[in-house]
């Protein structure tokens, strides 16, 4: 402990409005080590990285780099201090060349003109160091594979003397071969004395590459230590922890006949076709990591993504979901995971948002009766507890919870029989959450069917009748909820295998 750590954070806290996202987090990173930063979705990892990079300011706490206080006011400060962050979604300009991307913002110049020769030299040197001399500096980035793009992104970080490299889920879109090569690069950087913070959900990978780990849970450090001395089971236990038990009102409901059956549903963004049956009065939970293919499955089923293969039967009606108009007419309804960007037209008023998918009832001899539409919207506001001044209020003025209820009320209003709910409780207050759980129960009791995608395991276990798990683009397992524990669900989501022991040394 004599040596000063490369990076040290003490007592970092941050809140957004009333939500305390980080609660006095301490973290140390030494030169020449790989530190795994772990935690469930929403544990505070991304916020911490953003604070480190200078994108957010912490409310409290201090940061030191090699013993000197580091107080960034913008991301550029972070870069100057040698901090580079590689985000999950790559930040490259697709039609610029590899060289231009790597040197962007740090071009070598002479008398104000770009010195191509010098740039090229530096780019070649970095690519050589990374073990990828085969990547041509003149190629536009859009022509590269995802793996090669990642290399370019890392090369960009290295071109400007980086001391601290943060990688946010770097392997989530990589093939196994690319992942293996990435690990080689990481080991090389470590040997050169860089400190690396490695954020990942794939715990088996973490065991292979990291030296130490820190686990965040609900914004606090839940534990940490040496990777050699831990196991996947312990990491999962630390990530889940023991939670304040929440209220999941279970309304009695009985599964009836099959209402939805999908056979061979597959879009370009899924790796395997999905077969699934759903009964009336049933809530099917869907677990999986972000990017595991859950959203893609719902979108293919609903006709939002182009279908490569598959057939859907809803209540005896067979169809190929090629357009949302067809799936809505057949009784499907989708709640988008992103209500700001897709789910709601936030610049329109509440009444229009609520009734857009089914305006026919308000036609009188071919013309819309606006008063009738407003009155119906008012009624729905009461029914699902939307707090708003009037049906003419613009949706962007509502709180997250109320917005989500508008989006949900739309599905009720369009008289869907099968509700496809993608992260319906994300980013909303506890009261609204409880109301949405209750609503799902009411739907099931009403002989409707619900598919409930969530990244928050307790709510899946608390609300669903069966839980399915997606892993890397495919459906891997479905079981009744009683046959799952939180740890098992987590394990299945991470490894793609539900019951097999995972620390027995076998590799994926």
């Amino acid at each position: 402990m004599s040596e000063k750590p490369l990076l040290s954070l003490t007592g970092i806290s941050k809140s957004f409005g009333p939500n305390l996202v980080l609660d006095s987090v301490d973290l140390d990173l030494r030169a020449g080590e790989v530190l795994a930063l772990l935690g469930e979705n929403g544990a505070g990892k991304s916020t911490l990285i953003k604070i480190l990079s200078g994108a957010y300011k912490p409310d409290r706490g201090r940061m030191f780099i090699s013993g000197l206080e580091y107080r960034p006011s913008e991301p550029l400060d972070g870069r100057r201090q040698g901090i580079a962050v590689i985000y999950q979604e790559l930040n490259l300009a697709p039609h610029l060349t590899v060289e231009e991307n790597i040197m962007l913002g740090q071009e070598e110049s002479r008398f104000g003109l770009v010195d191509r020769k010098k740039n090229l030299e530096r780019v070649k040197k970095v690519l050589q160091f990374l073990g990828h001399p085969e990547i041509s500096p003149d190629l536009p980035v859009r022509k590269l594979t995802v793996g090669a793009r990642q290399v370019v992104e890392i090369a960009r970080a290295l071109a400007s003397r980086v001391r601290i490299l943060v990688m946010d889920e770097p392997t989530s879109s990589l093939s196994q071969e690319d992942t293996r090569r990435l690990f080689e690069i990481i080991r090389k950087l470590r040997a050169e004395g860089a400190g690396i913070i490695y954020v990942s959900h794939f715990l088996e990978e973490v065991l292979k590459i990291a030296d130490r780990f820190t686990v965040l849970r609900d914004g606090k450090v839940a534990g940490g230590g040496l990777i050699e001395e831990t196991s996947v089971e312990e990491l999962i236990r630390l990530m889940i922890g023991r939670r304040v038990s929440e209220l999941f009102p279970r309304l009695p409901h009985q599964p009836g006949e099959v209402i939805l059956s999908c056979s061979g549903i597959k879009s370009a963004r899924m790796s395997r076709p999905v077969n699934l049956e759903l009964r009336r009065g049933e809530i099917l939970g869907v677990a999986g990591l972000v990017g595991a293919g859950r959203t893609e499955f719902l979108r293919a089923l609903f006709g939002l993504d182009r279908l490569e293969a598959g057939l859907v039967v809803v209540a005896g009606q067979k169809f190929r979901p090629y357009h949302t108009a067809v799936s809505i007419a057949c009784g499907l309804g989708l709640l988008s995971e992103d209500r700001q960007v897709e789910g709601l037209a936030v610049r329109m008023n509440l009444a229009d948002n609520l009734t857009l998918s089914r305006l026919q009832p308000y036609l009188r001899s071919g013309f819309l009766n606006n008063r009738k539409q407003k009155a119906a919207a008012s009624e729905w506001m009461d029914r699902v507890n939307i707090k708003a001044g009037s049906p003419e209020q613009k949706v962007w003025t509502l709180s997250g919870g109320n917005q989500q209820k508008v989006a949900l009320a739309r599905l009720l209003h369009q008289e869907a029989g099968v509700f496809l709910l993608d992260e319906p409780t994300r980013g909303i207050d506890v009261m609204s959450k409880a109301q949405i759980y209750e609503l799902m129960g009411r739907l099931a009791a009403d002989n409707k069917a619900v598919i409930f995608v969530s990244s928050y395991l307790p709510e899946l276990l608390g609300v669903a009748d069966r839980v399915a798990v997606f892993h890397r683009g495919q459906l891997v397992e479905v079981r009744p909820v009683a046959d799952w524990t939180e740890a098992e669900l987590m394990k299945a989501a991470i490894t793609g295998r539900g019951s097999a022991p995972i620390d027995s040394g076998e590799q994926p």
């Binding site: 939002l304 357009h323 949302t324 108009a325 799936s327 809505i328 007419a329 989708l334 988008s336 960007v341 897709e342 789910g343 709601l344 037209a345 936030v346 610049r347 329109m348 229009d352 948002n353 857009l356 998918s357 305006l359 026919q360 036609l363 071919g366 013309f367 819309l368 606006n370 009037s390 003419e392 613009k394 739309r410």
Partner: protein
Amino acid sequence: MKSAGSGLKKIAGLAGPFGGLILVITIFSLMPEVSDRFLNLSNIKSVATQSVIVALCALGLTLIIVSGGIDLSAASNLALSCVLVAYAINLGAPPLLAALVGVAAGGTVGFLNGFLITRLRLVPFIVTLGMMGIARGLAKWVARNQKIDAPLSWLNELMVRTPRPSWLLVSPGIWLMILFSLVMAVLLRKTIFGRQAFAIGANELTARLCGVRTDRVKVAVYTISGLLCGLAGVMEFSRLTVGDPTVAMGLELDIIAAVVIGGGSLSGGEGSILGTLVGVFIMAFLRNGCTMMGWPNYFQEIIIGVIIIAAVTLDRLRHRQE
């Protein structure tokens, strides 16, 4: 209580463009040089008649802008229609048929705009920029790069200031403008199609999520707008009595300005027929007043430029308060 409140809000919403119109009219009627002539009936009639062509195009463009699009080809489209009417008459077509040819040509250009935008997934700006050149070029080709003379017919009476029969009071063109304003207002506010156009403009992803067949709606939007441009072309022919392929150069910007002054948002989801008409009249009265004052042309251009910027700024401020 509620309805009264929302009614007040609506008035406040229109206060911007209406206030501008009232301001323009007041200023000129207080100018001693023109105060006696500016507000008299025959001048108003003449301003209204001059507004018909821009107004017809602006009605269609309101629909396009509401749905989140733009049309730079409106003026070229109008010129093509104008030339085709003259051409058809010279081929011996009866006036009614010739007029229908003009309207249909406009509709075809509009349909092509919509078709290319939805099929090629190109932005409307690019497609209609290309179509602006294509339609203008076609018009010049058909007319062999000169004006097409055509024998006079009842078509040439659509835009006269003193109509026959006299009980019409104003020219048939004005009546057509009023008729289509009503039709478009109803289409926009009281039909599912109109509501879907607003939804596409406000958020196309949401519209798709709600089962709106966005491509079909967009093609229809551009086709309807094209038909109105075609009709404006017929009116232009009526006024000029010749088919002129170089007519209405640069008018597309006046048309866009009218919609924007009237509260249409270039980011889609907002706009109204009444607002657009007010925008058209603000520009028409301004031009008329400046001409009467004997102010030079460049002065008018500067004033209109200032008004566009002021109108949109006011609109922004109003939205922020909401």
